[in-house]
Symmetry: C2
Subunit: 492 residues, 2 copies
């Protein structure tokens, strides 16, 4: 322990300020690289070969592994612990609780991004980018809250989560639930649809999103992404292709071309399918001659549903980490994340620097020469120097972890303090009211052991300060309330 450097006051003041200040305002560069951003759903940190999984887990991943050789692999990329929060953070550069998106919506009439929010798609659009989204949104299902209301020129996909596909497939539903005839009571208004939209137009319902469609949608997303990229590459227009695939979210049903391909269950099949679709998109970039001018990001929104489920339907491997999404444990927070930009991002790098999904907003804005808003707290940091190899440090020291409305934990460097402990998604929430649980993420990656008292108490100084400053910023800029109407404007 003797080598841990004690941080001075200056350190956590700096840290606190990074949560308040708006980095990237006044960006110096004015380049406009294409951006292909592929986001998978509920995927384990260790699932792909470059993270130790791949073929050893029954699912070879040559394309993901190649991206890692050619780019930067992040070992400590952190998400919010649920789908909607993570996507909200990605789109806005703000911790999801600031935007009223701290929980996945269940049974509510409307939810998602209020119009007042500013997304990365809007920033890039203003910089002259063609912006296309192909996949799952999960940030609003009502008029005014679709992707094309938030900066995307075009969108094809599903508004909510992919598990809704089991709602309308009476023939298959019994394989997945014990719900009997429940599906017959589903109100027509809640039936899920595959939708298509163009900016300024009302989205069109194309077809019901049932289990058959669920198997095929990622193939269609890939096809449309390539079509979109081809169109704009040929027109020499910079593009932002955002591709939130539905794999590997429950129900894990692969495309018929991949069903049974691995022999190790549907989850493994979907990993192989995803790697294949990524490969097709990468090949398209090469064929279009824009490989060198395109930043590719491959990542996931959070960790897997059920990594240790004890049955043969293998569901994601979290590597050294434990826990699931819907918790503040590393297995839910850490996701695979690889970035490639030939000639710009040095090849073959691995880094354990902390990066948070909010950081994409500020970093992509900076790389594209866009300005981030200054009238609201932006939590994302500009990581461009880190990505481009000009710095070994990401600059991010930590972040608060909310699960729903509750402040569960704080991660700071290689430490985490848990105020509320939850083993896994379906475990009870344990409030650690007397002594919080402080863990060392390097020596105890599964977060099982309270560290000894002297460190326990010391480490909470910088951590509590981070929280206090976050709370202060919330006081100055109140969070968007959960369930805010479209008319929401901040009161400060």
């Amino acid at each position: 322990m003797k080598r841990h450097r004690l941080p001075g006051w200056s350190l956590w003041i700096t840290l606190a300020l990074t949560l308040l200040i708006h980095p990237g305002a006044g960006a110096k560069e004015t380049s406009t690289p294409n951006i292909l951003f592929v986001l998978t759903d509920n995927t384990g940190w260790g699932d792909f070969g470059a993270y130790g999984g791949g073929e050893a887990r029954g699912a070879p991943s040559p394309n993901v592994d190649r991206m890692a050789r050619e780019g930067l692999l992040l070992q400590n990329f952190n998400t919010e612990p649920q789908c909607t929060p993570s996507r909200s953070a990605l789109m806005t550069g703000r911790f999801a609780i600031r935007s009223g998106n701290q929980s996945v919506p269940i049974g509510v009439p409307y939810y998602g991004l209020v119009p007042w929010e500013i997304t990365i798609a809007e920033l890039l659009s203003e910089r002259g980018y063609a912006t296309g989204m192909f996949g799952k949104w999960h940030l609003g299902k009502t008029e005014g809250r679709f992707p094309t209301d938030q900066g995307f020129d075009v969108w094809y996909g599903i508004p909510n989560s992919t598990d809704e596909s089991i709602w309308i497939s009476p023939d298959e539903i019994r394989n997945f639930t014990n719900a009997g005839d429940l599906e017959e009571t589903l109100p027509e208004s809640q039936v899920p649809w595959v939708m298509e939209a163009r900016k300024g137009e009302k989205p069109e319902k194309l077809k019901r999103y049932d289990l058959k469609e669920r198997r095929r949608i990622d193939a269609e997303l890939t096809r449309r992404t390539i079509e979109f990229m081809s169109k704009h590459a040929r027109a020499k227009k910079p593009f932002f292709a955002f591709v939130p695939l539905t794999a590997t979210h429950y129900p894990t049903l692969p495309h018929p071309d991949f069903d049974g391909k691995t022999g190790y269950g549907e989850y493994a099949d979907m990993l192989v399918q995803t790697d294949h679709y990524l490969g097709r998109m990468l090949s398209a970039l090469e064929e279009l001659g824009v490989e060198d001018n395109t930043l590719v990001v491959f990542t996931a929104d959070n960790g897997p549903e059920d990594p240790d489920n004890g049955n043969d339907r293998f569901n994601g491997w979290t590597g050294p980490w434990a826990g699931t999404y819907f918790t503040a444990r590393e297995g839910g927070l850490r996701a695979p994340c690889i970035l490639r930009w030939p000639g710009k991002i040095p090849p073959g790098r691995r880094s354990n620097e902390i990066v948070h999904i909010v950081d994409f907003f500020t970093t992509l804005a900076r790389l594209a020469g866009a300005k981030v808003p200054s009238d609201r707290p932006i939590d994302g940091l500009d990581l461009s120097d880190f990505l481009l190899g000009k710095s070994d440090k990401s600059g991010r020291e930590g972040f608060p972890i909310f699960v729903g409305n509750d402040f569960y934990a704080l991660k700071w460097r290689n430490w985490k303090v848990h105020y509320i402990w939850q083993e896994s998604k379906y475990s009870p929430k344990e409030v650690l009211s007397t002594v919080p649980k402080v863990v060392n993420l390097i020596t105890d990656p599964r977060e099982e052991r309270q560290v000894a008292e002297p460190y326990n108490t010391w480490i909470q100084y910088p951590m509590m300060k981070v929280l206090a400053d976050f709370q202060k910023s919330v006081k100055q800029y109140p969070n968007v309330p959960l369930g805010a109407p479209d008319s929401y404007k901040p009161s400060n």
Copy 2:
């Protein structure tokens, strides 16, 4: 499960034959690449970055990771489950039980390779190689059983295991044991020494191998390896440098230059140290201009001592696998293994094909144009086509697993059947006399779940046949008995 192809009889007959036949006899190629073979001790599958660990585990491994980018990373490289057996298998190409080396020696007057055994060093020596060994032997401590009696021109290192270093360090021993004044009873004949030897001469005792030396020995091994490689590279003589480092074996005491370097304990420090020494050897190859003509192997003799020891002295990470050495579980058997040979081994490959440590004997012989013996069973397969990228398949379907004298288990493709189950090194041995435990290593990497009966019974057909054929070969060529004298000759 439907996609598992049922093997025909021909398959397991072929497999059975591979355990008997002597592949590589009549090698076609006559090249003489240099070989640098670095072997670490009790190291976890996941400890290095390219396997998912590295910086995320507090121990960056840039040199190991670079080797992986430039070469072939094996995800399913298998050892024998103890030090002496693994080294016996590596040197002879024969499962250790055939050579009477199935256990680490404790309290015996002599042990190791009988003179009748033929090592890879002998084969390479006959092909004109300079053969040097720098490190831990653990295959004999008496005259006639040192490395220089078994094909090495020169040797510097320790004859037995590195834990002996604590025997003669009364000042430090209390940090490691509760043995009190026990050390004072150690007979002078058992005091460990650092030794140096040349072929045809009696080894010289250089200095006592105490805890101070234990910290420094790997630096000295690295220095001497580079000196050896330099001498022969300049003389244009092909060389075989075998470097069994003492890291990361207990006591995990890093060199003073690395002590406390990571802040995450001695084990992590030793990982960083090992990566650094590997880097120095790789740089030397580059400076000598022989990088392209040198096959580099970086691997370990078996899994770690205690991967889940529950204290802050972090001891190895086994990745998805569980268990320790001295068991038949994957955590003990699987070790990191990366091979690099620029221009010959295609870069950036990962493979989950089964490879066993016995296979190096036959493969290295083949690559160097040497003939393997035909008067004894050689278990090693010729993997040269696999390494050189001419084949995706290693050709190895499985192997028997002995722990000491006991037949514990059989691994076959992605399955394993346990006849004797042992949780970890210090756990009791459970004889599964009624129903063996059959596990699927892809869907259940921790080997916790018995597979359902239809598969359980089916899978044992090809497995039992492998065992029967192994036993048949043992009947034809009896194993060297444990504790055989130097005069041992086979009776068949």
